[in-house]
Structure formats: C-alpha cells, structure tokens
C-alpha cells in the first residue's frame, strides 16, 4: 500500500452538494502519476462537479482530498496542475490577445515578479504545441470555438504541469482542433504527465486512456479499463446528445 510516489489525485468518499441538492454521494477517485483517467457519465451524473471538487472550487461536505500526497488545505504546489475548464468562451468584456490569455498560466511561476524572458519562451512553446503561435497577437474573441479551446489548453500547458485536468475538451471542437488536441495530449502523456479528462464519450481519445471511471447519480458505477466502442452507450440512463451535429472524424489516433 505504500506507494513510493503518492498519487496525483486521491479523492476519498467525497460528498458534495450544489444549491442544497446532493451531487456527489461518496466518490472515490485516484489518478496515479503518468496515468490517463477518463471520467464518464450522463449529464448531471456529477463528473464536472468531481473535477471542480478536485481543484477545490466546489468544497467537500465530507470526504478527503489529497493532491500529490498533500491534503488540500495544505496544498500550495499549484504550478504542478494545469486546468482546462469547460469552455463557454475564452473571451470576456474587454479584448485580450491569445498571448495575454495564455500568459495567465505562468502566474504560479513568476507570481508578483515581472514577466521575464523565460516566461515568454514558455508561452511561445505552449502556443506552438497547439499550433496557435502564428495567432499569438490576435484577439481571442476573433477565434473559432475550436481555436479558443486550443488557447485554453496552451494556457494549462504553459507551466509544464505534472497533472492535466480537462473538462470536456472535445465538446464543440472542429475536426482540425480535435486532431491537434489528441496530438498534444499524446505528447503530454509521453512527457510523463498524469491526465484527468471529463468526457461525454470515449471517442477518438480512447487509445490513450488507461482507465475509465463512470459516474451515475453521484456514485462510481464503473472503475477499470475502458470498454472499447461501447463507453457510455451501454449504460442505462444515457441520453445521447451531440452538441455539434457535424461529422466526427474516424479514429484520429488510429
């Protein structure tokens, strides 16, 4: 039981509610270093809430959370985590360039000190990894949905995290961006990063995934190897909703 390296995420018996309604009813979730874990489940099964509990933006009513072996309350090594929230838009009320948005991912490194050359170089590298370096000076509001998603992924990669947490990275993303996303993810896994992915279905990322955790009504219904090509469709209560009706590319990683 004594791991030489503690797990990147260790969530035990997590109970959480939102607006008085119980959403997590005792969720266990472990992500080992270098492991790729997919979190699956129907709408409202608690997968997004689980991820928000892991990053601490939804507080636990009961249960325990450790990140890299450190209890959440004492955890300070935020530079080890890269987070890609569920995208609505990367734009806000004031224009901002792609570079400005990605640069916020370097805040754990430079903190209150000025933004230096090595920070700038890290931003360039992350933008190159998602194929957006040529758009660095453009406004994020001028990009397509898939391109905005790539910017948000670059923002998470810019600190070379040991754990990458992504909430529905494939939702509403065009084919070209899906390919870039899959390639990027593969490179991160090869580098040794652990990945926790919220997915609606396994889809083109399936060959990368080591383990699938399926949630149903705030409880873990399955924890083990991903079941190829069935995924969510085999589960009761699955409502099949496609956010985008366009053609899904055949097996990006094959």
């Amino acid at each position: 039981m004594n791991h030489p390296i503690p797990p990147a995420v260790r969530l035990r018996s997590a109970i959480a509610s939102r607006g008085g309604r119980p959403v997590l009813r005792g969720v266990d979730l472990t992500v080992q270093p270098g492991e790729v874990v997919a979190l699956l489940g129907a709408n409202g099964s608690g997968k997004s809430t689980t991820v928000k509990a892991v990053i601490g933006s939804v507080p636990l009513d009961r249960g325990m959370l450790e990140l890299f072996g450190v209890p959440y309350a004492k955890f300070r090594a935020w530079h080890r985590i890269g987070y890609v929230p569920q995208r609505t838009t990367a734009a806000s009320g004031v224009p901002a360039t792609v570079r400005e948005v990605v640069s916020t991912g370097r805040l754990p490194q430079h903190r209150l000190l000025p933004f230096r050359r090595r920070d700038r170089e890290a931003v360039d590298r992350a933008l190159a990894a998602v194929g957006m370096l040529d758009r660095a000076g453009d406004g994020v509001a001028d990009l397509s949905g898939g391109q905005q998603q790539r910017v948000l992924i670059a923002r998470a990669l810019v600190g070379s995290p040991d754990l990458l947490i992504m909430d529905e990275p494939m939702a509403g993303v065009d084919a070209a961006s899906q390919q870039v996303l899959a390639d990027t993810l593969r490179a991160e896994v090869a580098r040794g990063a652990a990945v926790l992915l919220v997915l609606h279905e396994l889809g083109p990322l399936e060959p990368l995934i080591d383990r699938a955790v399926v949630l149903r009504d705030g409880c873990v219904a399955h924890d083990g190897p991903p079941v190829p090509n069935t995924g969510l469709h085999a589960l009761p209560g699955h409502d099949h909703v496609h956010p985008h009706a366009d053609h899904t590319p055949p097996r990006l990683l094959a």
Binding site: K52, I55, G56, S57, R76, W78, H79, I81, Y83, P85, A90, S92, G93, V94, P95, A96, T97, R99, E100, V101, S103, T104, G105, L107, P108, L112, F115, G137, D138, G139, A141, D142, L143, S144, G145, Q147, R155, I165, D174, A175, A176
Partner: protein
C-alpha cells in the same frame, strides 16, 4: 488659457480632473472585463448614504462616503461570489436603499441647503478645497498602484475565476481588493463628475478605447489616456462655456466613443486585409445539380467537394 490657469481653484480643478481621469478607467476596465459595467453606478448610489452620514455627524462627507462605499462594495462582492440566483435582487435593494437613505439623512441634517446634496450628485469641481485635493491624490495613488501593479493578477481573476484559483492566486482576497478599489474610486471621482455620473467615467473611456484595440494592455493604457484627455477638456470647456463640468466630461467621452466606433469597422477590415489571405468574399462551392451562378464563374468551385467544407466556416469565424 493662462488666465484660466492663474486661478487657484482652476489649478486644483484641473489637477483633480487628471487624477480622476487616470483612476476611473484604471479600475473600470476590470468591471467591464467581468461584464459588471453598471457596478460603479450602484456604488455611487450606496455612497449617497455616506454623504448623508457625513452631513448628520458634521464630518467630512468624502471620508464617510469612502467608508460606506467600501462596506457596500464588500457586500456586493460577497453576493456576487456566492453566485446566488437572487443576487441581482439583493443588489437592487442595496442600491435603492443607499440612495433613499442618503436623501433622508441629508434632509434630517442641520445644514440641509438646497444645493448641498446637489454638489455631490453632479459634482462641483470648482469648489475642490486643498484638503479635498490631498485626499483625492492619496486615494488615487493607492488605486493606481494596485490596478496597474497587479494587472496580470487582476486580469486573470476577471478573465476566468476558476482557472485563476488553480494557479494558486488568492482569488477571494483579490476580488475584495478590486471591490474596495472600485469603491474608493467612486468617492474620489464624486467631486469631479458627481455620484450619478461616476460610473460613466469608469466605463465609457474603456469601451471607447476597446473599439480600436486588440489587447488588454493596450486597452488599459488607451483608456487611461482617454480618461485624462476628456477630463481635462471637459473642465476647460466647462470653464469657457460656463456649464457644469461633470456632464461636459461625460458627453465628451460618449462623443469619443461614437467617433471610435464609426472608424473601428474600416480599421478592422484593413487589419484583416493586411493579415493572411481571407479567401474569396463569396462562397465558390457549388452544390450538385445546380447550374453556375452568374457573376462567379469559378471553374474550380464544383471540383473542390466536401474536403474543403471546414474552411468557409472557419473563415466566417475569423471575420466576426
């Protein structure tokens, strides 16, 4: 011009205008970024209670307004951060309560002259006393130091609060700091443009500047420059035309916004033209079973087929 500058009160008025012209957009840009452009308005209403308390207790209305406005801003921030769906109703109560309470307190106080509250509602920059100027300068310096010095941190929390939390930023503390800075700015600007128009000076230079800018840093710099220019021009204009300075500044800022938005469209077009080839202006993909459309005549069109289907969509996204 030199005649105008020979008066002490005009020197103080112009100095106050410069300070407010810098501070208001420096804070306002974060409110606009978070789509809370009308928050300054609400704080102006709440500050009226502070002015009323100042009248009742015969103390400085400016410092009382700072105190009440900071309390109000902290309350608003707590309501916002809890994400309550009834939050807007709570804010409405706070705003109307603040305004009603202010008027009531002023009418109860001994020095309730007709023009006493008026000067805080619409500003009275020509009556800025040396002590007022010191207060404006000190508070303004603090606001500028925070909003410009912590630009990357404040940008991050206003852009994406969840992500900012995962970078380890003290999100709650920074949110409260920003709310307090906005409250202080409202009271600083109170003497220059008045509580009813404070929000305009926090918002209009920002939205005017962003018609022409693409980056946050450029928007912040341009909006501060614009704030200073319209404040100085407004005060100077109001001296020569003998009109109140607050409305003059605000109308001038709106005029600049109108001009900028008119020239923004052709400017953006030119920028796109200078960039990568945006492709043909009209669709050149022909659907099977349709004859050639007059005026296009692209022979390549029909042979392209569905492999090119994503590009027009992408182009449409870029042109927005």
């Amino acid at each position: 011009m030199t005649e105008m500058l020979s008066y002490d009160f005009m020197q103080r008025a112009l100095l106050a205008a410069v300070l407010v012209g810098i501070t208001a957009p420096a804070v306002g840009i974060y409110l606009v970024q978070r789509r809370q452009a009308l928050m300054g308005d609400g704080m102006g209403h709440v500050a009226m209670t502070g002015v009323g308390l100042g009248f009742i207790f015969q103390t400085s209305p400016v410092w009382m307004a700072v105190l009440v406005c900071v309390l109000g801003a902290v309350t608003m921030e707590l309501v916002r951060s809890r994400g309550n769906q009834r939050g807007d109703i709570a804010l409405a109560m706070l705003f109307y309560g603040g305004m009603a309470c202010g008027k009531l307190l002023v009418s109860l106080s001994a020095q309730a002259g007709a023009g006493s509250l008026e000067s805080y509602l619409w500003g009275s920059i020509l009556t800025v006393a040396p002590a007022d100027l010191t207060a404006i300068a000190v508070l303004g310096a603090v606001v500028i130091a925070v909003t410009v010095g912590l630009r990357r941190q404040l940008f991050a929390i206003c852009q994406d609060e969840d992500f900012a939390r995962v970078t380890g930023l003290p999100v709650r503390t920074l949110n409260l700091l920003l709310a307090v800075m906005a409250a202080v700015t409202v009271t600083v600007a109170m003497r220059v443009v008045g509580l009813l128009l404070v929000s305009a000076l926090m918002v209009v230079p920002v939205v005017a500047a962003q018609q022409l800018t693409r980056s946050f840093a450029a928007t912040q710099a341009a909006s501060i420059a614009l704030g200073v220019v319209v404040s100085l021009a407004g005060v100077t204009g109001s001296y020569h035309l003998n009109v109140p300075s607050g409305p003059a500044i605000v109308l001038l800022a709106i005029a600049v916004f109108a001009v900028f938005s008119v020239i923004a469209a052709p400017l953006a077009r030119r920028r796109h033209r200078a960039g990568a080839d945006p492709g043909p202006r009209e669709c050149d993909v022909q659907l099977p079973g349709q004859g050639s459309t007059p005026g296009r005549g692209s022979a390549k069109g029909s042979s392209r087929g569905p492999s090119d289907a994503t590009t027009p969509e992408r182009r449409a996204g870029l042109a927005q």
